[in-house]
Symmetry: C2
Subunit: 320 residues, 2 copies
């Protein structure tokens, strides 16, 4: 399929075209340039919600419950599950098949896992590109589920209009440490598996941390919702939905929605620029000058800054 044809079919919501485009994104295909150019005029409509949190908190189940809530409200929804823990192996890692079963016959739901192969730069342009494809396909809502404690959570916040951070009771001390940083990106906090021992304690802790945290000039104070996503239609999911709606309304009132979307575009453009430059430096093959310079640096014969200067000159830019 040629790019203009593919763009046309994506706009029509054709499943196979969507799947193909996302595979091209995953593989960093050279056709992406033309496809993204073709899709650009049709983007900017979808609402993007990021869901993240440490392993074992029930992200997939919660995402699934939120997707269900969207359908009940008559919205079409795409689920993009990004697995930043696996730059090596592509394919459906996050239980797509299980999820697919529930929504298999519903044309208003599209589900896709994506491995993240980008090394330097984390999510880089892959997630923004995937969002662009789903956006142009006309989905009302895109749920981006990211696995991982750490940078992935922070990256996802840059991509979403609303970021939901999930916890569960009894995650242990190590998660405590992560909380501090993650609080700063959370728009809504969830204590999932709230029927388990320790849920009230987790809630209390999060409350304290939210109270302590100075979010600067942003007035939004992340609400905390207790859920049992695996129970029935998802206990607490309606409240989670309402909180997400409130956050969206807050963003719109404050002009924050446009600001977030501009920031997303900025990250995407910057990622493309850096990726282009990186490949000029010998991205994966690492041939040529970078290799020779690295050898000198490894042997102590040259410091890394002077090596960087040589490369910058070579890239056609003057050293600062």
């Amino acid at each position: 399929m040629q790019a203009p044809q593919l763009v046309e079919r994506i706009r029509g919501g054709d499943r196979r075209a969507l799947a193909r485009a996302l595979t091209l994104v995953e593989n960093g295909s050279g056709e992406l340039r033309e496809i993204m150019a073709g899709l650009a005029p049709y983007t900017g409509r979808s609402r993007v919600v990021g869901l993240t949190g440490p392993p074992g908190v029930g992200k997939s189940t919660t995402t699934n419950a939120v997707a269900r809530a969207a359908r009940v409200r008559g919205l079409t929804v795409a689920v993009l599950a990004v697995d930043p823990s696996s730059p090596f192996t592509g394919g459906a890692l996050l239980g797509d098949r299980v999820r697919m079963q529930e929504h298999a016959t519903d044309p208003g739901v599209f589900i896709r896992s994506m491995a993240n192969r980008g090394h330097l730069g984390g999510l880089s342009w892959a997630t923004p590109h995937a969002l662009r494809v789903l956006d142009a396909a006309g989905f009302d809502m895109i749920l981006v589920e990211t696995m991982g404690v750490g940078q992935a959570e922070v990256d996802i916040a840059g991509q979403a209009d609303t970021t939901v951070v999930l916890y569960a009771p009894g995650m242990g001390d190590s998660v405590q440490a992560a909380k501090a940083g993650v609080l700063e990106i959370a728009d809504v906090l969830v204590v999932n598996k709230a029927d388990r021992d320790g849920a009230r304690a987790t809630l209390r802790e999060l409350r304290q941390m939210v109270a302590m945290k100075d979010r600067g000039d942003r007035e939004w104070k992340p609400p905390i919702v207790m859920t049992v996503a695996s129970e029935g239609e998802g206990e607490g999911i309606d409240e989670l939905w309402d909180r997400m709606e409130q956050h969206l309304a807050h963003l719109e009132a404050e002009g924050g929605l446009l600001a977030r979307r501009r920031a997303r575009a900025r990250d995407e453009v910057r990622a493309i620029v850096l990726d282009t430059l990186r490949s000029r430096m010998g991205g994966t093959g690492d041939a040529g000058d970078l290799d020779a310079l690295a050898r000198e640096v490894a042997e102590g014969g040259r410091d890394p800054y002077s090596a960087a200067e040589v490369l910058l000159k070579e890239l056609g830019t003057a050293p600062r």
Copy 2:
């Protein structure tokens, strides 16, 4: 303190100079250029071991036990705990104080936590720079402990001569998914908390995964060690040490040690180049052209590739 003075004191192993240099690294100080140039001739001696794994597996305890093993063998050791989950808050997050207590009176041990503020690019140049400082200070061994499931683990493998990946019994399904990718970076695998229920099952699973995994032309097959790092001097730590030694011997025999160190230098140089270019694009302030272009992209009036092209031209490089 001026840079040449600081370099002199670092070489002498002065604690306060080390602490100061690492703070400069953490803050991305402009003095780094001169300091790194000064240190370059004195680097390349330290052995770097990375320890990583999901939260709750006992990384700090194991790192501590390995540090103890190094001291018993007469080696000086530096511990660098990198916390990629927290780009926001600096300082000692990973229990430095607890660790400090054991080694407080030992001049052969240096311990330091480092928050990782780099957004795009993950560890970027901060960890390589910190290793450079500790290397020039003459430590025989540097233990780099990284928290997190995901990209952080992969990044650390690029920095270390030997990468130790830790697991513990009963980490749940989500960790399973992470194992596949992480196996490819592990030189030695550890099942810590091996006195707990499910340790044999975890061992079996890892064994199967190692057996299945094709590591290509690299002949090293990661051994799996069972440890209870919190017990006495650390049960199984002597075996872990032996496996680490065997891996080092293997690397040296195959010329892999130099190759890894060159790759580390390559990453460091590349990170400096990209960081320089990023700051020219308006790294944090995001003023100027990138902002205006991002606005157009966010509104669908321009696609991200054509925006990238404008920026590339501006950086003095021709579009491809």
